[in-house]
Symmetry: C2
Subunit: 528 residues, 2 copies
């Protein structure tokens, strides 16, 4: 068995040749340095973050007089996070980042999210804001906003959802009115704003979708605004937290209703072009949620392995019983496969930025698979983790139930997994069908066991790509799921060739789990 | 679409001919009366119990000075429950029950558990105690204990698990010492005792496994004792609650550590024969947990249907979107299939009691399938229910997350689902293989789509029945799962013939979900 950091380094160094790619992206990185970065991130995550995750869940968040109090130990943890500089791993060098490939951030973020998903959401959203601003802000905005975000002194949020506008953002009603001095006044309410308000960051920068007075109706009339909680002159802006949600998990991550009342904001990008800007950074955001899924898989597996090794029944550790061994085997195999899919997606993002031919299409196809498959698996793996613990798993003390409760949000936010599947099947398959068929063929070549499922996947893709929307819509989720089983199996097979320590995971996956791909393809193609 | 009570009545009246069977069991019951009973139970569950389920979850249980305070509204609810007489539906007439078939209780209990699983656990455990005492207590014990239990004035508990004895009950250490006057003094600690202590029942009767001083080691040296919280003369017995668990769900059902300190108890049954007595009532207890799974499927589906009908996006109710329709279709089909499997199991219990040939073997085979398949599906269906709600599903207010959290205990308690699968594959298949193959053949005859999967199931059964224990153990869970998909599909196909309103569920299940059976059989037969 290899630990998470070991698998991450193996995949990035030996399956993806990341050091060479990093050089092309202008941030040279030796294999040994990458190993050292991941080992250090793992140490930070396990020693500084993970010990507080149960307490963070128990303490949760409290809204008092407009201030959200996050778990008390988060203030010190944020200072350590700032000092260690992890936030800037993949951020632009000119604003204080280290400029490493995005895949390195994805790897570091897996370790952080695995240690405490609730805490990890703050760096995740901040990284999203950095991504967006680095590509779409003016030079002046970048100079003011990026350094404190990259230093993790400020946190960033994404203000999209409104009560009547969930998956359908064209229904956004928040208004932005020019103030006559080049700025805007934002008024409206946003819900489900992760880390929308907190008592530990020096400032919070809200990236908010709103409509200008002359905006056309629908999705072509939405603009993007940057709205800081505290203005440059130290005044408090007109934005406040109206409530926090009582949720099944991620108790330590405040999910806020944010009320904007003539809040001062700046336009980011062109007027009415807010949705394309937001969507442009969606690949990274959806990848990040998939990575959260991997992190929760890894945490569930680590907890279950430790419990099964230490708990005895009938005179031997329960890990030795065939059914417990089966559960642990599935957890390990799925975790490794999910990690490899997520890294393929992350490296594709870097390759696309390096201008490699075909990388853009690969990224477009892999992103929904990564987001949906890795997060659906996280909920299942966490549930298996509870089962390994037996009755103790249902008791909060062991932490197994927390992984399961925390993980359950990931199939929902940043576009539900149904939305991901429709993005793949209704939007991307018609556009990139040859690229998808090539991806399937590549998977089919990885191992004899994959040939049949990969062919069936390619055929289903060709069928669904041009099926009527009702048929494609009803088949989308099982199709995406099948794609994940095939692509994950292929990655495990390739990884086992390079690193024999992964042969057990690969064998278990291909022999025992891969049949699920065919079952889900049959479902995808059956009349609804 | 038919409601839960409608499907229950349809299945019992028209698929199982329960009224005729009831007559043979000495409790004549007309079809119309059965319909009326189920409608009344549904009304009680929906109008009296269900409105409090969110509040029950929120309030949870508190241990104060040795007293467990359950949610405040439960005191009044228990009085209504007592007055309505539901506890005694299938209990012996001579002790105040109505003597109806067990299947009627199973149907009523589904409705109760669906309304509030935490509350439902009290009647469930009490019914288990009644079952056990009705068959194994002395006439004198029955006369003293059964009337107050059947009237729901007392509640009953099962004291099996100890910290070192979870799935392996042979490791029980609690001691029972004769007091020289025909009674016993019980000393030891039990954990995970459902409703072990509470502030609303007049008394609590603990049925406790313990060892006599001369007991042989292992499972043949365990005896069963009845230990009331309050003794006949009004003295408080030496049993107290040492703590309650903080759990992921069923917050309103106290899960207690019970400490017995020279508590006065009575032997139930023969010395050293406690485990067989306990196991004799396990069929009913495991069936009841499977029924809980059905109840949670039904609740999740009802909540999701209501939400999807009322929530609009892009100008139409989300229920009309193909992927939401897919989720609702799966939830409805699985709920109906689980209900039909549970009722087959319940009716088999009644047929076995009526002495019908083959009923005992059918009951033995169906019980683990009912317990494990229905509860695994409950967690999945509840998770789909969250997904239908989107972000609102992760917020506790909608109640969707509660169903998921509550349902997650059911695959664990009353023998984990791994234990169920091993009971089926390692114990029952070798003994009852012809009966299992007949069951599979019966399923294969229900619809052309079932022929292949049913044959594959029968072949896998023949293979696993005589495989080495490690192979059978590693294949047990996926095998049982496959059995549930096949048997559930067969029941839906038969039900749709009798009642065309179920054709949609049957078609959805057979076309889209049944392929999972083959995938899980491949997994079961693959080398571990």
């Amino acid at each position: 068995m290899m630990g998470a950091a070991g698998q991450l380094a193996l995949a990035l160094n030996r399956l993806h040749g990341l050091p060479e790619l990093a050089g092309r992206l202008g941030a040279p990185l030796a294999e040994a340095d990458l190993v050292a970065v991941l080992e250090e991130a793992s140490r930070f995550a396990e020693e500084r973050i993970a010990p507080g995750r149960r307490e963070a869940d128990r303490a949760g968040c409290v809204l008092e007089n407009g201030v959200v109090r996050v778990p008390p130990h988060y203030a010190g943890l944020l200072r350590e996070w700032q000092a260690a500089g992890w936030q800037g791993v993949a951020a632009p060098v000119e604003h204080g980042g280290q400029g490493l490939p995005h895949a390195v951030w994805a790897a570091v973020f897996e370790l952080v999210s695995s240690a405490d998903m609730g805490f990890g959401l703050m760096p995740m959203l901040t990284a999203g804001a950095v991504e967006l601003l680095a590509h779409h802000a003016s030079a002046d905005q970048a100079a003011r906003f990026l350094p404190p975000l990259i230093a993790a002194e400020w946190n960033g949020t994404m203000g999209l959802t409104e009560p009547q506008a969930g998956s359908d953002l064209s229904a956004v009603r928040t208004r932005a009115v020019p103030d006559g001095a080049g700025g805007f006044r934002i008024t409206g309410g946003k819900i489900f704003i992760t880390w929308g308000e907190n008592d530990i960051a020096a400032n919070t920068l809200h990236l908010v979708l709103a409509r200008l007075p002359d905006a056309p109706a629908g999705s072509r009339g939405i603009s993007l605004f940057a709205v800081p909680k505290v203005l440059a002159d130290g005044r408090r802006n007109g934005v406040r937290c109206g409530g926090i949600e009582e949720k099944a998990g991620i108790h330590a991550s405040p999910t806020c209703t944010m009320i904007f009342e003539e809040a001062e904001g700046e336009l980011v990008g062109e007027p009415h072009r807010g949705l394309p800007v937001m969507f442009a950074m969606m690949n990274a955001a959806r990848l990040a949620v998939g990575v959260e899924g991997v992190g929760q898989c890894a945490r569930a597996t680590a907890l279950a392995e430790a419990y099964a090794a230490g708990r005895e029944q009938g005179g031997r550790a329960i890990a030795a019983y065939p059914d417990v061994a089966r559960m642990l085997g599935e957890m390990r195999a799925v975790t490794a496969a999910a990690r490899l899919i997520a890294l393929d997606c992350a490296v594709s993002l870097d390759r696309a930025r390096a201008g490699e031919s075909g990388a853009e299409a690969r990224l477009a196809l892999l992103t929904p698979v990564c987001k949906a498959w890795c997060t659906d698996r996280a909920v299942e793996v966490a549930s298996l983790g509870i089962q390994v613990h037996g009755g103790a798993g249902y008791v909060e003390e062991t932490g197994a139930a927390q992984v399961w409760r925390d993980a359950r949000i990931a199939p929902i936010y940043e576009g539900t997994n149904g939305i991901q599947a429709m993005d793949l099947v209704l939007r991307k398959l018609p556009r990139d069908l040859p690229a998808f068929r090539a991806l399937a063929a590549e998977a089919g070549a990885a191992d004899a066991a994959l040939r049949g499922p990969a062919e069936a996947l390619a055929e289903a893709a060709s069928h669904l790509a041009f099926a009527p929307p009702e048929v494609a819509g009803a088949g989308a989720v099982p199709f995406l799921d099948a794609a994940g089983w095939v692509l994950g199996g292929a990655w495990l097979a390739r990884a086992a060739v390079v690193e024999p320590a992964l042969a057990e995971e690969a064998g278990f996956f291909l022999r025992r789990l891969l049949p699920r791909a065919k079952a889900r393809l049959e479902e995808a193609l059956a009349p609804a």
